[in-house]
Symmetry: C2
Subunit: 291 residues, 2 copies
């Protein structure tokens, strides 16, 4: 394997789904992506939403690129939450997988459709677009889907994948404060067990950063646990110390980028100055990254 | 007209190419966009590159939305400089014009093609996509096209537009430091005169921020002059005082946004913290903007 100075695995971007070293295929990107959940290091995902952000994240040393569904939806003209058209979402995934060499995992919200068949169609499209991982969430209309319904959707996704696609099952009980707080941990663990039986490879529980609760989730889930981090949350090392396998930044970087747009536009339109636009901009560097 | 507290013209986003007030059509968006170059206020364009940035800029009070070709190309996976496919560029323009109510002007680099016919095809696509303005540059391979060639391209664009499309002819003599500095001002003015005769409505000279030179350009061009501003350049009011009609921020906001991605990713991947991601992120506000 081509291991960089920072310990991350790197490989040429032009060899499709396979990893090559001295001309010999080693493992697929999907296999590599699975391995990244089971190593000594926490898999850190600074979520991207377009080709430029994906290339910048890869260039920053990321072992994999994950999309943020919110950032993707906003950049393409839709609110977050299954409002973006499947075709636009899949085209975006293909643009990113074409541009980066590391494994790509796509957040496809709840799967873009009401029925398990819709989820299956989305998953086939995700695989065809070259992603090796996917996030599927159980959130629905401010709450969560019934467990049996989400199990059917995950099973449909597993069957549709036909490959080693890493299915990260997102449970929104904490994010949407579903049900009685006293039973939320157990409800979440029950969902996790059902989702893993349905074919999920890992569990993503956003909205919980309390380390004791996270540690309980790690112990109870028994598969790679993904948490959502960001300003105010514990650092990656703290999550890693309690056994978290994967830390995602979600939509926070996209939100911060568009907040910069807002501040820059307001300043230029009101005071007519440009101090909100940092001076260390790098046209040539970005242009070179896209070649 | 629906004039906001900040003096900008606003109108409902759902009425296509026309401006409506109390149910009566007043002027087209193209007419409004022309007027914005000839009023008392400098037209300030905080350039956008996707739907979210366009909506954020509009929401910040902008009278019009302009795209940055560099930001558009990077976000879609190409370097700047006529490398992006025309179809991807036009789809992006359509997504933006569908999402915002204010006039949209599109930077289409040098027109996506070697021949005037290619430029004409691009312009027909831009008009069909709902933009009411366009930037066409004479830069080519680090220098500038022969004047006669660029005149043919602008004439083809003018003929193809078939409407009141505002054609902003960009002259890259200063940006690319073309020729003898002693004759650059006169060369630029000669190009401006030729481009205006070919049908351009205004002249864009990026790469010059010296106010004396800008003032000479304003006097010599005799049509709305657009300059490129950003960190370190004079403020909008200073440009306005010497007669500049339009100030663009170009790719600087996009560069700053992707620089934020870089810093956030590097920090999360190395120290495992998130201080590069500002805390004032606004998921709900962005989501609401996209509805």
């Amino acid at each position: 394997m081509n291991v960089r100075a920072d310990g991350h695995v790197a490989f040429p971007p032009d060899h499709g789904d396979a990893c090559w070293w001295n001309g010999v295929m080693t493992i697929t990107k999907a296999e590599l992506f699975h391995q990244l959940h089971n190593g000594d290091r926490v898999l850190v995902l600074a979520n991207a939403w377009d080709v430029a952000s994906a290339r910048v994240v890869e260039d920053a040393g990321a072992a994999a690129v994950a999309t943020t569904s919110a950032g993707v939806a906003w950049s393409l003209g839709a609110p977050d939450g299954d409002r973006l058209g499947r075709d636009l979402a899949l085209e975006l995934i293909a643009r990113i997988t074409t541009a980066v060499g590391v494994p790509v995992t796509a957040d496809v919200e709840s799967g873009f459709g009401a029925d398990p068949d819709d989820v299956a169609e989305t998953i086939r499209g995700v695989v065809a677009a070259g992603a090796v991982g996917v996030n599927l969430e159980d959130g629905l209309h401010g709450g969560v889907r019934p467990v049996t319904e989400q199990v059917e959707r995950l099973a449909a996704a597993r069957e549709a994948a036909q490959t080693g696609l890493y299915i990260n099952a997102r449970i929104d009980t904490y994010l949407r404060a579903v049900g009685d707080p006293a039973s939320r941990l157990q409800d979440t663990l029950d969902r996790a067990a059902a989702y893993l039986r349905a074919g999920a490879d890992g569990i993503f529980v956003p909205g919980v950063t309390d380390l004791d609760t996270v540690a309980s989730l790690v112990r109870g889930v028994g598969a790679p646990l993904n948490v959502l981090a960001g300003p105010g949350s514990p650092a990656v090392a703290e999550f890693g110390a309690v056994g978290v396998a994967r830390v995602s930044l979600g939509s926070s970087i996209a939100e911060a980028a568009y907040d910069l747009v807002r501040r820059s536009a307001r300043e230029a339109l009101t005071s007519g100055t440009y101090e909100s636009v940092p001076c260390n901009c790098d046209y040539d560097e970005l242009n070179a990254l896209m070649r």
